[in-house]
């Protein structure tokens, strides 16, 4: 008896979901004649409005941009907290590798410039001579002119 009632309850829900054929519906109504309380429930349930439109449709992804990025941020923080020292070091190294390289280059360049200015060399002059061997220098001409003047 109780089992039959449970079966009928499930059939009523199938009917409310529109999952029964007209023949199955007719059979259900006939069976419910022996259970007046269930028949009354059946009519009440079938009268209920469609609930699917009650809360509107799901909003677009773009409306939840901030919430989604907050979740992703929380996940990233969690990921970061759970990494080993080596992994963290690698992440930091990758993140700041370019900046660190530029900084190291800049610092070493300063030392190089300082050392060059302390011990004057004519390396720049030699290089220009190597690249431009036939190019006559006006300064050289001027020096020769001065030497000639002094010997006269």
């Amino acid at each position: 008896m109780e089992l039959k009632r449970l079966q009928l309850e499930r059939k009523i829900i199938d009917a409310a979901d529109g999952a029964l054929t007209s023949e199955e519906m007719r059979q259900l109504k006939a069976e419910l004649q022996d259970y007046p309380d269930l028949l009354s429930d059946f009519h009440d349930i079938m009268k209920q409005p469609d609930l699917s439109a009650l809360y509107g449709s799901a909003d677009e992804k773009s409306n939840f941009k901030n919430q989604i990025s907050n979740i992703q941020h929380a996940i990233n923080q969690y990921e970061f907290q759970n990494k080993s020292f080596e992994e963290v070091s690698l992440i930091w190294f990758r993140k700041y590798a370019i900046a660190a390289s530029i900084a190291v280059l800049a610092v070493t360049s300063v030392f190089r410039i300082e050392s060059v200015s302390e011990h004057q060399t004519d390396s720049e002059y030699l290089i220009s001579e190597i690249f431009y061997p036939n190019l006559e220098s006006e300064a050289d001409d001027y020096m020769i002119y001065l030497e000639e003047l002094s010997t006269q």
Partner: protein, 170 residues
Amino acid sequence: MDKDIRKKFQQEIPNLYPRLHRALSAYLSGSALDPEDILQEAFLKAYKNIGRFQGNSTLYTWLYSIARNICIDEFRKQKKESGRSSVPVEEHRIESDEFKHRDERDDILELRKAISELPELLRTIVIMKSVDGLSYPEIAEVTGINEQTVKNRMFRARKELAQLMKNYSM
């Protein structure tokens, strides 16, 4: 393997969030809980426990059950503090422009209020089926009860809903 699942999970967040937000807003209608706070906690909890996701259910229903469990814990905390009281109709906000006529708007408000007054399990089943469109096997996964019992609970839910609507003389 675990890394792949984590990556996939992160990629799926933007797709899962809007639907879960809608379902949770319906579930929490009239409650003081904020669906956005619950969802943030649920996503993070899911990510931390991604190894437990077997792939038998969908990611959506798995997240749904996590979010629901968080809500149940919060309801328990609230109940301890003050006891759950009925919620005034005014707290069931309508943000959609779909329901412009006053009578229709009032009907919607009262229906939402009626749903929010259902016991937790019945409310979950009504929302999952009627509002979110989940199948009975999916609802069984989320609630942890078998499919036949879900249908019987659905019958009880709709019967109680009919009674509540009669009380509001709808």
